[in-house]
């Protein structure tokens, strides 16, 4: 029986350097956000015609990548998939961090972040944004509780204060296991609802034919699970390689198999959407799809398809699926592909307004000598937007690094598998104990 199960972390020096670099990126983002608050969203590339951009795409992407963790750990409980149970705490941690970052990435998109409490003071319950707010809050609390009950026994055994008042007895461990099971049964439908509602923010809008499809929720669910599982793979391979996370390559490659199926389902849904648009040939629908593939942002769709197909190939070909490098590349490609899909969902939908006659839409900016109108939208994120999004990414890595260091994420149960087990069974934190 292994006693302590904290991950083998990097040396103190490495830890502080990494933390420092990440904090610096966060600081740059904070400065960028301060600039945006003082000068207004004029510092972004968004204008009236394309009025949502990188921030909302990032939000939808973070909601998506949080899927893998909770769905994986909940399914392991609900459907009794034992091999997944070992990676459950880790997967849940990823879900927790990702959903917190999703909530965070909404803030810079608001014109008046100082009024964000209005969402709670005057919620308007017809708005899908309000539904999303409440489901994301639920999701956040559930994944935090889930993680707590998964780790509490281990924390108690380590004597950590994070275990709160609970003891390390077997009885309380059984209570915790039961709590995890109950939470999982609630968390699974909540996770599915979270992705559906995020899709409905877009999919219910009659103003954008490209969004307005009943397939959007299934598409979001599929792409969320794809990117979420990819994130689990990505971080577990990273953890295995650099932090001594104990996880078998066999398990990773099994997740890879599942991932390829989910990506294929995602692509199938997309194709189904395309054919339903193209065959009947309703002009407004066809032109919105035409913009997606051949418009000014057409490259996004091609990159998305290219990356997705390449990743599927890597996951299907046995040699790459069984290698860490192959799995890691596929996971990276899929997370990237889904991010591109989020951009590709938001931006092209705005390019051609339904009522489009000269002079066009009033963009909301005056520059001497150039028109204040735009007939078709154009958008590219500015340095400010990139800096803020990078800061949110850095913040998520920062939280992950700190969690790696202080939480007992390795399974304390002796593994019954004889295949390669990475990391020393007595892996301990090199750094000081969090007392």
């Amino acid at each position: 029986m292994v006693e302590t199960t904290r991950l083998q972390t990097m040396s103190n020096k490495q830890f502080y350097i990494l933390t420092g670099v990440l904090l610096a990126i966060v600081a740059v983002g904070a400065v960028a956000w301060y600039t945006q608050i003082t000068e207004g969203l004029i510092v972004t590339g968004m204008r009236n015609i394309i009025s949502w951009g990188l921030y909302i795409s990032t939000f939808a992407w973070f909601v998506g990548i949080s899927a893998g963790g909770l769905i994986l750990s909940s399914s392991s409980q609900v459907f009794g998939i034992k091999s997944w149970e070992k990676i459950s705490p880790f997967a849940t941690l990823l879900a927790l961090i990702a959903i917190a970052m999703a909530a965070l990435s909404i803030l810079p998109d608001l014109g008046r972040p100082d009024r964000v409490l209005n969402l709670f003071l005057y919620p308007q319950f017809l708005s899908p944004l309000v539904w999303d707010l409440f489901i994301i809050a639920t999701y956040l609390v559930l994944s935090a509780l889930d993680l707590f009950f998964m780790l509490r026994h281990r924390l108690a055994k380590m004597g950590s204060r994070l275990a709160l008042i609970m003891d390390a007895s077997e009885a309380s461990a059984r209570r915790d296991a039961k709590a995890v099971k109950v939470i999982s049964f609630v968390a699974l439908p909540v996770a599915i609802l979270t992705h559906s509602i995020t899709a409905w923010i877009f999919g219910l809008q009659i103003s954008r034919p490209y969004w307005n499809t009943a397939l959007l929720a299934p598409l979001f669910l599929a792409s969320a699970m794809a990117s979420g599982l990819a994130l689990v793979l990505f971080t577990m391979i990273g953890g295995k390689r650099f932090f001594g996370l104990k996880v078998e390559t066999k398990l990773l490659s099994d997740i890879g198999k599942l991932l390829s199926v989910i990506v294929l389902v995602d692509l199938f849904l997309l194709l189904s959407e395309y054919i339903t648009t193209i065959w009947p040939g309703v002009p407004s629908e066809v032109s919105s799809l035409d913009v997606v593939f051949f418009g000014p942002y057409g490259y996004l769709a091609w990159i998305q398809w290219g990356c997705a197909l390449l990743a599927v190939a890597l996951l299907i070909y046995p040699r790459t699926r069984r290698s860490l490098a192959g799995l890691f590349s596929a996971a990276t490609l899929i997370m990237f592909e889904v991010f591109i899909y989020r951009l590709d969902l938001v931006i092209p939908a705005y390019v051609n307004p339904l009522v489009q006659f000269p002079p066009g839409t009033s963009i909301g900016e005056f520059v001497q000598g150039s028109s204040s109108f735009m007939l078709a939208g154009s958008y590219f994120p500015t340095v400010i937007e990139w800096a803020i999004v990078m800061a949110i990414l850095a913040a998520s890595l920062l939280l992950l690094t700190i969690a790696y260091r202080i939480l007992p994420l390795n399974s304390s149960e002796p593994t019954n598998s004889t295949t390669s087990v990475m990391g020393s069974p007595t892996a301990r934190a090199v750094g000081e104990e969090p007392r």
């Binding site: 969203l41 009236n48 014109g111 103003s207 009522v355 000269p358 909301g364 900016e365």
Partner: protein, 268 residues
């Protein structure tokens, strides 16, 4: 008795009727709206769109077979406004008393979900600090600098805060003071009419009863309170306007079918 109010009325349901036959495309309404509502440089609540060629005031087709129409365009004040449905904080709402869709500038959080949801693209976000020439309020009552509230909601202020969405409100600050929207007042061709649909004797009611009037994008079911009367002579490009002509009764004789080359310069 003013045009807007009549004594019998209990509630009102404002509508604007724009006669495309009368509109000459002078853009006076668009400029007047900027004056009245103090919209900054680069912000337009009210625009006059050219239905024809690729640019403002450019007709479609080749000489001598040219055609051009104008489409004055602002908030359509829908009966079932998508913007109101999506607003997470209820900052934009349809006034029960008269049907105007307005924005509470003190409550809006600037998420721009309404901009995404509006099928007409008439909402304007305050991206940055306002630039004005001359740089002082020129609008309502000339020196109007106060916030105008309706039922404790600030629905008009000459300088809207940075980071909130704004749009045409049927000149809420005027109609509540028994005055017509400014675009209606200034229209030199009297193409714009405004009044309550609940008052059977109002000009808009009479015009709407004739059944010529049409809405923009009626298939979406938003039920706009802004109506258009079709021009008598329908140029071939009018069919590009995204509406269904409800009636040809006003012009029973169809114009000649478009020559093939007319479509070349059409708006996309």
């Amino acid at each position: 008795m003013s045009l807007i109010h009549s004594d019998e009325e209990t509630g009102k349901d404002y509508a604007m009727v724009i006669d495309l036959e009368r509109c000459v495309g002078c853009h006076t309404c668009a400029v007047a709206c900027k004056l009245e509502n103090d919209t900054p440089l680069g912000y337009w609540w009210n625009r006059v769109l050219t239905v024809g060629g690729q640019n403002v005031d450019v007709p479609a087709g080749q000489y001598p077979d040219l055609s051009i129409h104008y489409l004055p365009f602002a908030c359509q004040h829908c009966d079932d406004p998508p913007c109101v449905k999506v607003c997470p904080v209820g900052a934009t709402y349809k006034r029960e008393a008269d049907g105007a869709v307005v924005i509470d500038y003190e409550r809006c959080i600037g998420c721009r979900y309404c901009v995404a949801a509006c099928p007409y693209g008439v909402r304007v976000f305050n991206w940055g600090p306002a630039q004005r020439v001359p740089d002082f309020p020129v609008g309502f009552q000339g020196v109007h600098t106060d916030k105008y509230s309706s039922g404790n909601r600030v629905v008009f202020e000459p300088v809207r805060p940075v980071g909130v969405v704004e749009k045409c409100s049927f000149c809420v600050q005027r109609i509540d003071n028994d005055e017509l929207p400014f675009c209606v007042i200034v229209c030199p061709a009297r193409a714009r009419l405004f009044g309550s649909q609940k008052d059977p004797d109002s000009e808009v009611s009479k015009l709407l009863r004739n059944g010529f009037a049409f809405n923009l994008l009626p298939e979406l079911g938003t039920g706009p309170d802004v109506f258009f009367l079709p021009p008598r002579k329908k140029g071939p490009n009018l069919q590009k306007v995204p509406f269904t002509l409800l009636s040809d009764a006003r012009d029973p004789v169809q114009t000649d079918p478009a020559p093939a080359n007319e479509d070349k310069g059409g708006a996309q």
